[in-house]
């Protein structure tokens, strides 16, 4: 399996550590307000876990050490693109399964969180 790291280009999957489905954004801490329990439960534990196109966090541990989100099909293992994790939850999230025209590219080479 080859993964198109937005920073390094096409790299073998052994260089990456998968870190689970990217299905919900991390909830805001909200200052002194009481944490939003259901939002955290949704973020930490609950998963759609589809047998379809999905988005997953990978850490390019043996490469540029960026956090990226890989667009992959969980039945066929086909990889259709990848984005920097820092950019993933911003607007214009690519539709699941859509070929990511920008990937791989060095333009978005910012440090993921």
């Amino acid at each position: 399996m080859l993964i198109p790291c937005p920073h390094c280009g096409l790299r073998p999957s052994e260089e990456f550590v998968p870190k689970g489905l990217a299905e919900a954004p991390r909830p805001a801490l909200g200052g002194r307000a009481k944490p939003d329990g259901p939002a955290w439960q949704n973020y930490l534990h609950l998963r759609d876990n589809v047998a379809d196109h999905s988005h997953e966090y990978f850490h390019h541990a043996l490469g540029c050490r960026s956090w990226i989100v890989v667009h992959r099909h969980t039945l066929t293992h086909e990889v259709t693109g990848a984005t920097m994790a820092a950019d993933f939850w911003k607007a214009d999230k690519p539709a699941k399964g859509a070929k990511d025209a920008k990937s791989p590219t060095a333009e978005t080479a910012e440090d993921g969180q």
Partner: protein
């Protein structure tokens, strides 16, 4: 009893050319209504149906299986049976399951070939020895058995293990003598035959396509063979838990991952126990046919494909050769992958759901096979009485929200830590 596979029957059939055998279970058409529907005709679903009939007298039960009986993970595992767990929530349950294994062949009248050949978890450091000592004591306190072996003990039990490995020298191991392995298909078939004889309908090629919920209560399911009514529906669908849960609109704390396993060509007896490598996640045993059966951890990424990728194959072979160097000349016969229902803390869930009458049996991670009888025993109790027995009191669906997790590994309750 008809169709018992005892000596006299075998002799009689041998004399008349094996013409008298009949199918071990019926192939019924689904009825319009049942008392209980179990979704999933794998090991857990079949044992649940068996114990519903045997322990609770509920025989108007259907097991709905989208493929064929025992065609999922019960036919795709490394057949290890053990109860060497640390946390009360797990060890109570798995010890109950191990006790059921010990009497299972007699109970079913079907040889499941349970072979208590012991399991040894090898450790490679002082701290790992301390952790395993604690685990062994915890097991003994909960009624299981455990023995701590030193380095000489490992040499004696498993001479082919590389005890003097320069990178990971073996310090000793924790042995559970009553653990072992069993014939995986026979377990599914034994439970299927036992359930069928008690009146349970085992319906194959019947895929559940919808779960009907009215006013928060289950009223039945939709299938590709028509609707079936039931006030109680149990899910035991392993890797497909999220997909079936979605039919009822249930968000579940499950991710599906692929786990690979391997078997070698047949060899003369060389490994007498189930042995696990403490420096990597690797386990190996030898089947009755002589093949070495072994595996390691998940591929790591989410998957519904029953096959894995080559980097994990390479990793497993490296672990095998580091641990038991003699296998370096052995040829591989087959490898396969199963879809695991991974829970955030690595422990299973057997609980009611927010929908009245819908029960969940999931989150088996990579430990589902040894749980087969215990899972059915406890899940059937939950379905029959609408309340859990003490073996599964901690295996709650809401434990990730409340924080009462069963964190066996001590790694935290988040996906991809297990």
């Amino acid at each position: 009893m008809a169709d018992q596979y005892g000596f006299w029957r075998l002799l009689a059939e041998g004399l008349r050319g094996h013409t008298g055998w009949k199918p071990a279970w019926r192939d019924p058409e689904p009825k319009a209504e049942y008392d209980v529907i179990i979704i999933g005709g794998g090991g857990h679903g079949l044992s649940t149906a068996y114990y519903l009939a045997k322990n609770h007298g509920i025989t108007n039960v259907a097991v709905l299986e989208k493929g064929y009986l025992g065609g999922g993970n019960v036919g795709r595992n490394t057949t290890i049976v053990r109860s060497n767990y640390l946390h009360t929530g797990n060890v109570l349950f798995y010890e109950k399951s191990l006790q059921l294994w010990e009497g299972l062949s007699n109970d079913l009248g079907y040889n499941v070939m349970f072979s208590p050949r012991s399991i040894i978890n090898v450790f490679h450091s002082d701290s790992a020895r301390d952790a395993d000592t604690r685990r062994g004591n915890q097991m003994i306190l909960h009624g299981a058995d455990a023995v701590l072996l030193n380095r000489e003990g490992i040499r004696r039990e498993a001479p082919l293990v590389d005890v003097d490995n320069p990178r990971f020298p073996v310090y000793g191991g924790l042995k559970q003598t009553r653990a072992g392995s069993a014939r995986h298909d026979a377990v599914a078939w034994g439970f299927a035959r036992g359930a069928d004889r008690r009146g349970v309908d085992l319906i194959q090629n019947c895929e559940v396509t919808g779960i009907d919920v009215r006013n928060g209560c289950v009223v039945g399911v939709q299938t590709n063979r028509g609707p079936i009514r039931a006030k109680k529906v149990g899910m035991a669908v392993a890797g497909n838990t999220s997909r079936v849960g979605k039919l009822a609109g249930l968000p579940l704390p499950i991710e599906s991952h692929v786990l690979q396993a391997f078997v070698s060509e047949g060899l003369k007896p060389m490994l007498h126990n189930v042995i696990t490598f403490g420096a990597g996640h690797f386990y190996i045993s030898q089947s009755d046919k002589g093949g070495l059966v072994f595996g390691a951890s998940l591929d790591g990424y989410n998957s519904y494909a029953q096959r894995g990728n080559l980097p994990r194959v390479e990793h497993v072979m490296e672990a095998a050769v580091s641990f038991v160097p003699a296998v370096s000349k052995v040829r591989m016969l087959r490898s396969w992958g199963g879809v695991m229902d991974m829970s955030p803390d690595g422990s299973p869930i057997i609980d009611k759901t927010p929908i009245e009458g819908l029960y969940l049996n999931a989150g088996w991670c990579y430990g589902g096979f040894k749980a087969t009888p215990g899972s059915g025993w406890c899940f059937s109790h939950l379905i029959a009485n609408d309340s859990p027995n003490h073996h599964i009191e901690q295996m709650r669906l809401d434990r990730f929200e409340t924080g009462y997790v069963i964190d066996e590994l001590g790694a935290g309750a988040q996906h991809n830590l297990h």
